[in-house]
Symmetry: C2
Subunit: 232 residues, 2 copies
């Protein structure tokens, strides 16, 4: 029997949070496939090793709830950026909405944290990634950000290229945050290596990437196949 209600307070809520916190760290360090519910229960100090299935049912549900919890908090921050950007036609303002909220949120967690590395494990698993992507697109602030980015780039970057670069952007944000989290956790961070630095790095890099011209060769290929390989 699965307890699918989600108590907000009290011992049930504490147990759920303890499980989510333990699961996130273990999944971050070992990967989604390599961690058993028993290991999570033990790490969460749950005497009962069926605690995970009791509170969450399946691994997919547990993973989705951890990601949703982060997503909610990141969304609060993104809404502030979207309000600041409202009415702007400067692509950088909307790229700030895309890239800055996650590192800003991770900065609130202190060192060490595991959430960014957990997110990489989720994004690496195609099935889990699809679940999480669907969920994140229900957030108005993210949808608004993506709409405005498309609008800013519509006249200069073909649609297929915009979509390809959107995928690239997602990988970059995920992996840059995970690397930053690892370096901070290992204590090997030099000067300028901070969450704010990661946000700055992503902002600059993505302005360059998303607005980059498409070379002539690609434009030709999109209208009709061109056997020539000469560079533009």
């Amino acid at each position: 029997m699965v307890n699918r209600t989600q108590p907000r307070t009290g011992r049930g809520a504490d147990t759920r949070q303890a499980i989510m916190t333990a699961a996130e760290r273990l999944y971050a360090e070992h990967g989604l496939s390599n961690v058993s519910n028993r290991q999570i229960s033990e790490a969460a100090d749950q005497g009962n090793n069926t605690a995970v299935s009791y509170h969450f049912g399946s691994k997919a549900t547990l993973v989705r709830e951890i990601m949703a919890q982060h997503g909610t908090r990141i969304d609060v921050i993104r809404r502030r950026y979207v309000d600041e950007a409202e009415g702007s036609t400067d692509v950088r303002d909307w790229i700030r909405c895309l890239v800055r909220p996650a590192p800003e949120y991770f900065a609130t967690l202190g060192v060490p944290s595991w959430q960014a590395r957990f997110a990489v494990q989720v994004m690496t698993d195609p099935l889990m990634r699809a679940l999480v992507t669907d969920e994140s697109l229900t957030r108005d602030s993210l949808r608004r950000t993506l709409e405005e980015l498309h609008r800013c780039l519509r006249d200069t970057v073909p649609e297929r290229v915009r979509r390809e670069r959107g995928e690239m952007a997602r990988h970059l944000i995920t992996h840059t945050c995970a690397e930053r989290e690892r370096v901070l956790a290992e204590g090997t961070a030099g000067p300028g290596v901070s969450w704010e630095g990661a946000a700055d790095a992503l902002e600059d890099a993505l302005v360059g990437l998303l607005t980059a011209p498409t070379s002539r060769r690609r434009k030709i290929t999109e209208s009709h196949p061109e056997p020539s390989k000469e560079p533009a």
Copy 2:
């Protein structure tokens, strides 16, 4: 006892290749941690399930040899690009040396292939990634490419930012190729979705990313800490 010699011909060589081919596919699909030597031996049609340890010793050695085999073939292609770029001060020419060889090599494998997705699994594991990175930097053509890229960008992009963006570039190449390989294998590829298209996409995106200006805020942070958060 481990047979550490590497026969180039004959049944020993065939066995080694069968093991490497099977291991690559299984690791690509399931991750490095989730595949046993027994499963690899079975997939390679080896009656003897100690075949993997006999021929390779450890998983790390097997992984390194698979990556080295790809690396050698990619290196042949990269040397051609470096010869073409020789004497150029156009950063795009050296970015072509960086990004085009891997997708060009993957195109020779036919569909489906597993090498790009295998590379993602290796790059996701920090220990494995370090082993592989060390090995790749022994290739002259790659070192030459990186030297020339640094030279092209030296006056416009601070060193720390160049290094950060080098990491970003590596993630982008690895993940873009893995995604392309997955789409081709699933048969869901639309027009323009090819290995050449992936190379074009990476070339354009990385010209933008690597040459992107660094915003004023970052320049200030690098010389002395600046508490102000006003945008540049």
